[in-house]
Symmetry: C2
């Protein structure tokens, strides 16, 4: 944690600021380990969490009292009233707590994530782009957290594969997959997902619905769980029953593209060149890949023309696909860039 706080403070210093005011919940998690509850949406009791990081003391979280039990050990907090039977005033509370936490300092921040009502007590400089870039390089403890999140993906993929049978609906399959992942996590976790069968695989996927699987269907299963603040990601494409020849040939193209990409990942490679290499001969309407960490899509974005240069410690998901009228196939693994190439964190079956 100390290494990334120092990288963030170096950004602040370059911009003439005394510290960092993290406002994106992903940056808050990255600098403090504080995991924001996202599944309930905006809260009537609190503003989104903020974190102040300065060279002279532990990080200060600006959160409501409801979050007090979840404040990481090495952080302090400026708390305000949360859910209460008293009159609610989360904005007033957050403003007063933020004034205490920032103490008039000039801070490098992420203004698009800050509420206009907080502006009056803030002196900030926009560091959004710079913080995004330093967030892309993971510390060793972050790689461990990503590995744990990707292992949850493996659990979900195995469960999907075990139950992808004629007669089950997408939403039933989803309940099993999510159930297995939450069982493995020991509690509820956010999970984004494509779980789409048949015709919708041709459109790259979608959320699970009531469609019932039948023999010959392709099923795209793309699972994105968050565990301890870090997002995993993986995709497999399954076939209900025996794979058709056309599915096998698409699957081979995609597996080859993914392998090509993973073999090419090493420090110094430019994201746009990696995109071009993987995309060669294929025609998928989405990115080739993306970074992931405390957010599910971050630098390095592996897209046409992407200028980010890979560095050791960067984590990325690669996910080429082939989609045509017959249906679609996508495969995805997460890798971490090492000095000599990369390490694959994903361990799910890529078979059709």
């Amino acid at each position: 944690m100390r290494a990334r706080r120092e990288r963030a403070l170096a950004v602040a210093q370059r911009l003439g600021a005394d510290g960092v005011l993290a406002a994106d919940v992903s940056t808050v998690a990255w600098l403090t380990g504080f995991e924001t509850d996202i599944e309930s949406g905006p809260s009537p009791f609190a503003l989104p969490p903020l974190a102040v990081v300065t060279p002279d003391g532990p990080p200060l979280l600006v959160v409501s009292e409801d979050d007090a039990p979840r404040i990481p050990d090495d952080c302090r907090a400026c708390l305000y009233a949360g859910g209460t039977v008293e009159e609610l005033d989360p904005v007033g509370g957050a403003i007063r707590a933020l004034e205490l936490a920032t103490d008039g300092r000039m801070l490098a921040s992420e203004p698009s994530f800050l509420s206009t009502t907080l502006a009056s007590v803030l002196r900030i400089v926009d560091a959004t782009a710079e913080l995004r870039l330093v967030r892309a390089v993971k510390d060793p403890d972050e790689i461990d957290l990503l590995q744990a999140a990707v292992e949850l993906c493996d659990v979900g993929q195995a469960e999907a594969r075990a139950h992808v049978l004629p007669g089950i609906s997408e939403i039933e399959l989803w309940a099993r997959v999510r159930g297995a992942m939450e069982q493995a996590a020991g509690g509820r976790i956010p999970v984004l997902a494509d779980l789409a069968s048949g015709p919708r695989t041709a459109e790259t996927g979608g959320a699970p619905g009531l469609r019932v699987l039948t023999d010959g269907d392709l099923v795209i299963c793309d699972l994105v769980p968050r565990l301890q603040g870090y997002w995993g990601d993986s995709c497999a494409t399954l076939e209900v029953g025996e794979p058709a020849a056309s599915a096998r040939s698409k699957h081979r193209l995609v597996a080859d593209a993914l392998e090509r990409g993973i073999e090419a990942v090493r420090p110094g490679v430019v994201a746009g060149d990696l995109d071009q290499l993987v995309r060669a001969g294929l025609d998928y309407p989405h990115h080739t890949g993306h970074g992931l960490g405390t957010s599910w899509h971050e630098e390095p974005r592996v897209v046409p023309g992407g200028r980010t240069r890979l560095e050791p410690g960067m984590a990325l998901a690669l996910e080429p696909g082939v989609y045509d009228g017959d249906g679609g196939v996508r495969l995805e693994q997460v890798v971490v860039v090492t000095e000599g190439g990369c390490t694959i964190l994903s361990n799910h079956s890529l078979e059709l």
Copy 2:
């Protein structure tokens, strides 16, 4: 929809504004029917949705192209690029779309939900409190939507009751409950929940974990699903095996308090008086109830000293409880205030 848009525009007019700029996702849903994806947290591709409502034309949503398929029929949109393989600039895109949508008008808005980066193109007056109050009175089509959301609660409660047996873990029970609700909804839905057994019921509940149910456990099951933008809410307390005498007596106290409250609900009743009536003789550390609609906690808040006066069309959840060292019991139903009293939307079993 027209009735509530007119109420919102009347608020704007009272404040000297030309229209409304909804920024709270709950207000956006209320005025347009647009349902925001909350389960993925803040998006790297878009700012939260905004809606401009003026007297001269349909509502204008300011959202990314990714949301285009979900724009309600009677709304128009100012779109900006969303998830793309191009360079990302959701803030720039949102600013330009918002400039087009607002066209220099003075608008009644919710500044704490607005990003500071949008401030430069906005002329707004703070209408947060006023909009919250008018949102509390539901139109007939909103009552139908609430009824549908509460019926999903009924489905979940029935599933919990069917499987609350020794040997099942909280998280396994949760997978069944959520699975049944999503099956009934036809797809994924956000669901907030307490699903806690044994000792944690004494602390009012909590999220499901790995604890395995055993004979004699109390289980608090409080389910809060969102369907088509509207939140349902209900709570039952279940006993694993035969209820103990102490559990029966707590349950009787809570059932009586809930009944007392529901019998008292009618236009003109002040929320704080309702709180006092239900809370009499009990000692629970939370609100007696709350409004619900496009948010899961809104006016009328039924809390000590609450000043909101009930009106026909207000929807509220009442949820008294008793918690002691032995465990806790809470029961909750949703009602809608009518001219002569109230209608109960909930239809789940309140039995122990």
